[in-house]
């Protein structure tokens, strides 16, 4: 897990390695989306270096990003609760999408 960086007062970015054995398949995508939706902040994610950011609250787009096992996921949040949102998503991915917090 890398440190969170802060671009301005309400924008936070961080990155985390995807440890899930088969990458971002359906079940992790649902968990990530559901968690993202609990925050007001605009949250986007991408595989590190990818040209486009993807809306973390869109389950179809998260599934379609097909992030592979071992890839690094960048997470960006903007809004009043962005810091907590980014931290929560990093934790979800770093802990391999545990059951029970949905």
């Amino acid at each position: 897990m890398l440190e969170t960086s802060q671009a301005d007062e309400h924008t936070f970015t961080s990155s985390v390695r995807l440890v899930h054995a088969v990458g971002m398949h359906a079940r992790p995508a649902v968990k990530l989306t559901k968690l993202a939706k609990k925050f007001q902040a605009q949250i986007s994610v991408r595989v590190a270096g990818a040209p486009e950011w993807i809306n973390a609250k869109s389950v179809a787009k998260i599934m379609a990003m097909r992030a592979a096992h071992g890839s690094t996921i960048e997470i960006k949040g903007a809004g009043s609760d962005a810091q907590a949102a980014v931290a929560a998503l990093v934790d979800l991915i770093a802990t391999d999408f545990p059951d029970g917090n949905s």
């Binding site: 359906a26 079940r27 649902v30 989306t33 559901k34 939706k37 609990k38 609250k57 869109s58 389950v59 179809a60 787009k61 949905s102």
Partner: protein, 130 residues
Amino acid sequence: MTDTVGIVIVSHSADIAKGTADMVRQMVGSEVKVAFCGGNSDGGLGTNVPLIIDAINSAWSSRGVAILVDLGGAETNSEMAVEMLEPERQDFVVVCNAPIVEGAVMAATESAGGSSLAQVKAVAEELSAG
């Protein structure tokens, strides 16, 4: 969390309907009401309007109900079931133009976040939009 949009799954096959509902419950969780129906009274393939109405009632929510269907008759019978509801409830039920399994999981995921019926339908139909 207040009420969430309910999900109804209508397949020609009872097994597909139940299996799809199982996937939704396991992947998305229990905060969204899910009802399903499929098959005819002889245990064969088919859909029928009274069972669809029962499923709509079972998944009913003040936020509305989104229906996911498989082939032809499932869609027409679902539309007929909606037309047979009380007029004041008809505006709160929509049939989604989406693949049944993927659409149900995505609709339920969107619903779990507290989204409106229109948003839930739009997300389910994102898949068909290509």
